[in-house]
């Protein structure tokens, strides 16, 4: 039976057609640029220097802090630079550049063996050492997600294969081409958390993926496939949990507090590689689409530069106006094509000049389409009014902190108001405020 959440929006997914039916193809570039802040948490510390020869899978930056994960060389070759580069957002980030010698010489790998027989206690450390973070776009370190406190009991592991974003088909292709890895990774997570129920969640616009995952799931213990109605943001963590477990994650709490852990399909496949082959994250599938001549799903080495990937797709098909990492609803704009993709880059979408043109805000006509769209149940038009007047406390009392920045309200707004954009700023300001207060208290 197909299930779904309340409200949300119906998007036009015709932009998935360009890449949906194409097999993933490999692309390896001459150079990779690995940034040390690919995950949420403190950036890793580089442990190689210019001129060093590195092997594929070798740790080139050490983890820092609780959320930290290492960065591994995604090619073998020579480190040509360790320095700062401009990246998404204002701040520069540290970056390790490696010239590829195309030998793909691996470091010595330490496989743990079959996912069904491996000691469960070894799984989470192996995930951390493999540098795995959420591959669906959130880039939250996976080992943290899989390390619940003693009082938190996980009952179900949800695998997110909804792919409700526009343009992207990398998860879809992964399910079709590497379904057994997803199942294996899920089994590893289930065993690590001592959970006997795993659910793979897929939207009903991917019937081929549903069928193939159902066949694979039938052969595994405790795994089922849940078909979801195609609606955005069905793949949002909170929505997914509500739909499958019928429980809402209380405000300010984590999924584990309702006994659920959500893992992206790509993350599952990476976990499988880490356990069975001992391989860290050195590559991923990224959808390159929009105004490129040959849209494709590329399996690229982490740190591949955007320009090379666009070149691998035949170049731009028209003058680009805007390029974003991720789909149409939540993608992050990149400043130039010299920057590299990261572990969580699930797509590169090129918009033409017309689609990139900024839209003037009209007056709110109180049509209520934002209210009817908000999957959280907020009043976006009221929050926007508070945001425009810079009334942070009012915005807070209207639950702006519960906003998941899915973009539904902005998408629907007939007056083209920048609702989500202003909520993002308000949330950042509120977070800064809370931090300042916390600092004073100390």
């Amino acid at each position: 039976m197909t299930v779904t959440f309340k409200r949300g929006v119906h998007l036009n997914y015709s932009n998935k057609k360009a890449t949906r039916a194409l097999s993933v193809r490999d692309f390896v570039s001459e150079e990779v640029r690995l940034i040390t802040s690919m995950h949420i948490g403190a950036p890793s510390t580089p442990c190689v220097k210019k001129g060093d020869h590195v092997l594929m899978g070798q740790v080139i930056a050490e983890p820092v802090g609780f959320l930290g994960i290492p960065v591994h060389a995604s090619v073998s070759g020579e480190v040509t630079n360790v320095g700062m580069i401009p990246y998404i957002g204002e701040a520069n980030v540290q970056c390790i550049t490696i010239a590829n010698d195309f030998k793909d010489e691996w470091v010595e790998l330490k496989p743990l063996g079959d996912v069904e027989t491996v000691d469960p206690a070894l799984i989470v450390p192996a995930i951390k050492n493999a540098g795995i973070c959420g591959m669906g776009g959130a880039s939250f370190p996976t080992h943290v997600k899989l390390s619940p406190k003693p009082e938190q009991k996980c009952n179900v592991v949800l695998v997110n294969g909804a792919e409700c974003e526009t343009h992207l088909t990398c998860d879809h292709r992964l399910m079709l081409e590497s379904g057994e890895k997803i199942i294996g990774g899920l089994r590893a997570v289930m065993r690590a958390l001592n959970v006997d129920k795993g659910v793979i969640c897929i939207e009903d616009n991917k019937p081929d993926a549903i069928e193939s995952m159902q066949i694979l799931a039938a052969r595994s213990q405790g795994i089922s496939v849940q078909v979801l109605k195609t609606k955005y943001p069905q793949g949002g963590e909170k929505q997914l949990i509500e739909v499958v477990t019928k429980k809402q994650v209380p405000a300010g709490k984590l999924p584990i507090d309702v006994g659920a852990v959500v893992v992206n399909v790509g993350t599952c496949a990476a976990i499988y590689d880490a356990i069975v082959y001992g391989k860290p994250v050195v590559s991923r599938i990224t959808t390159v689409t929009g105004c490129v001549k040959e849209p494709a799903n590329l399996r690229v080495r982490i740190g591949t530069v955007v320009e090379d990937m666009i070149g691998a797709c035949g170049g731009f098909s028209e003058e680009p106006g805007k390029i974003a990492f991720g789909g149409g609803m939540t993608g992050l704009c990149i400043p130039n094509t010299d920057i590299p993709m990261a572990k969580s880059t699930n797509g590169i979408v090129v918009y033409n000049d017309k689609d990139a043109r900024s839209i003037d805000e009209g007056p709110c006509i109180r049509c209520g389409k934002c209210v009817a769209a908000c999957p959280i149940g907020l009043n976006p038009y009221l929050i926007k009014r508070a945001a425009d007047a810079d009334k942070l406390d009012v915005a807070k009392s209207l639950y702006v902190n519960d906003c998941i920045l899915c973009g539904c309200c902005s998408y629907e707004c007939p007056s083209r108001r920048w609702l989500t954009a202003s909520f993002k700023i308000v949330k950042q300001k509120l977070a800064a405020q809370a931090k300042a207060k916390g600092g004073n208290a100390k």
Binding site: K322, C333, L378, R416, T420
Partner: protein, 307 residues
């Protein structure tokens, strides 16, 4: 090559404000066409004069007050058209002009323009005209050209069959008589996702049930008068209707029930106009006290529901 930077989302729905208003105009066309077919060119004149003066009033007001000119959003055209469709084709041209100007300037622009008015402009203007020139406004003519009482007037109940009411073989205002044309317009609006089905459906449903309770003929109640037109094109007005689902249901049921109460016990045969206006006034309250439940919160706290 310079790339633009912007915050997500990078895609927007095809339904811009202007597009929505044009959709409403398209949806009103069958009713207008039926009015012109019934009453001839004078109905067409009323519609055109009303629409033109609505746009002109908005333009002049915005120029005089040095506000941004927003006539391109077509909302004034919608107001003008709706007003024309709820008056008699016999209305003098100057009277409809006054009505239109009142709707735009007094009801809409004085309160801040599009999105800030608290009453439906066309309905408020109709109420104003009705209060000022009752004799003219209630002179309904039959399609044969004979002046007759509305099907809701006392004693008129048995005169028309359900079919007459459905296809508009009754005296009435320009656009309210043919229910089929109205429903066709409404279906168009729902299919194009311009409006949702909730408010019109619950308005009609609640009127049906209420009529049955108070002993009126429910089918007749629904089909006669302006109820269906009000449910389809006025109760649904974006600005003056509530936003959350439950508030919308309460609002719609309020309109249906009050309409029947006015028809049954009021001195005026038609109730939908005042029912909608009354519920318009309650809209801010409904929005405040019946919001959507916020994900992950047990209950929306009262003190937090304020603005």
């Amino acid at each position: 090559m310079s790339l633009r930077l912007s915050t997500a989302p990078h895609i927007r729905s095809p339904r811009s404000s202007t597009r929505l208003m044009v959709n409403v105009l398209i949806a009103l066309t069958p009713s207008a066409a039926f009015g012109v077919y019934n009453y001839g060119l004078k109905a067409l004149m009323v519609i055109l004069v009303s629409m033109a003066s609505a746009v002109l009033s908005e333009l002049l007001w915005q120029l005089i007050t040095k506000r941004p000119v927003r006539i391109k959003d077509c909302s004034a055209l919608v107001t003008g058209m709706i007003l024309a469709l709820v008056v008699t084709p016999e209305i003098p041209w100057w009277m409809i002009m006054i009505g239109s100007a009142f709707a735009i300037i007094i009801v809409k622009e004085l309160f801040g323009g599009i999105g800030d008015n608290f009453l439906n402009p066309a309905l408020a203007a109709r109420a104003m005209l009705l209060a000022s020139w009752p004799a003219v406004l209630t002179s309904h003519i039959d399609i044969d050209g004979i002046t007759k009482a509305t099907p809701l007037a006392e004693g008129a109940y048995s005169e028309y069959s359900y079919l007459d009411l459905l296809i508009g073989r009754i005296p009435g205002v320009i656009g309210e008589t043919c229910k089929l044309a109205i429903i066709a317009g409404l279906v168009f609006l729902i299919l194009t996702r311009t409006v949702t089905w909730r408010i019109p459906t619950f308005t009609v449903l609640s009127a049906f049930v209420m009529a049955w309770i108070v002993g009126l003929d429910p089918i007749y109640t629904v089909l006669a008068g302006g109820l269906i037109f009000a449910a389809a094109f006025m109760a649904n007005d974006y600005t003056t209707s509530p936003m959350s689902v439950h508030a919308q249901v309460v609002y719609a049921c309020g309109i249906g029930i009050i309409t029947v109460v006015i028809r049954k016990w009021g001195s005026y045969p038609e109730g939908a106009t005042y029912a909608v206006l009354f519920m318009n006034l309650l809209t801010p309250l409904l929005d405040r006290y019946i919001p959507h439940k916020v994900y992950g919160h047990k209950k929306v706290k009262e003190e937090k529901a304020h603005e």
